[in-house]
Amino acid sequence: MRHAGVLAALREGPRARLLALGREVSFAAGTRIFEEGERADRFWIIRNGTVNLDIHVPGRPAAVVDTLGPERLLGWSWLCPPHQWHLGAEAVGQVRAWEFDAAEVLSLCKDDHELDHELLSYVVEVIGRRLRAARTRLLDLYGPYGSGPQP
């Protein structure tokens, strides 16, 4: 089976050991998967469907800031303090995913250094990629004057 995203980043052994901890879940369209500020004690690998990540804006609808599709890692706040979601997540349509309990995974990683290293490396890469994307979007590239004043 050909994998992409997080599953492609892990070698066969660590991937199998991680997937052994996962359980299949599904979310109906519009389901709030987690809310900003709540305790981040799990994460998901999306199998089908799309999830919107959003920021709560007082008095207005939540602002969607990113979209995650199949094979993507949903949630990394479980990995580091303060272990709280800093965004909210909502299923756009029907979403199927593998759900992982963060405590179980972290417990396994204490003894399984191969999985620990590969998973941590992948999560850091994801964080870096999303940070780069966010910084790029700060430039408002598609605005009338693109990335700032012209010389």
């Binding site: 994307a133 979007r137 598609y142």
Partner: protein, 266 residues
Amino acid sequence: MTAAPLPYRVVGNRAESTDTRTLELEPAGEALTGFRPGRFAMLYAFGVGEIPVSVAGLRHGVLSHTVRGVGAVSRALCAMRPGAQVGVRGPFGTEWDLASADGDLLVVAGGIGLAPLRPLVRAALSEPEAHGRLNVLIGARTPQDLLYRRELAAWGRPYCGVTVDRPAPGWEGEVGVVTALLDRASFTPQDTTAFLCGPEVMIRATARELRHRGIPPERIRISLERNMHCATGHCGHCQLGPLLLCRDGPVVGYDRAEPLLAVREL
């Protein structure tokens, strides 16, 4: 190609977004020939000035140009009603050269960069047997800024994806950078030809990602823009290192452009 602008008549002016319009021009007399997807014309708003604008459509002798009204000339062009006259010089520059793309096609556009790619997509759709899979990936600022909305549904063969930076209420599409759509596209990297147009930060990020996925740099074609004035390679305003983009561009292979785009303030 002519040195003096030829008169063309505005036969259509359609709003694409709040500040962007597509003009349709037909010759008022002698017609210019040789326009191809990727090339550009100098459009002259009489009494105001002249700007370079890529060809956004080529049908039955009618030239389409999509113009964003951000300066004196572009606003004057956007304000032109059917029947008005505009001066046209051209065609200038290099083309996308779809004919040499034998495998899958990957079109990646950002913002108004979709305009020069539209005739390429139309040409690819008109001869599906000549190419592999056609993937069109589009990034826009907001859903309201998306160009050619009525055409997009027909562009996916197999995939046409749109992502925006700032979604509006009711938007059910993707949110984020255009490179995130690459995972949804179907293509065989070593046999794919990619066509990129948009802000240069987007072009660089996309080209790097495509290189990472295995598309050879000479199969990545990008459209670059500088301050084009004469359009004939004489004035030097559009110089990018050894290239004069009005003559050697706007379409350039990434194998040539990559080192140039890495130079600060070039």
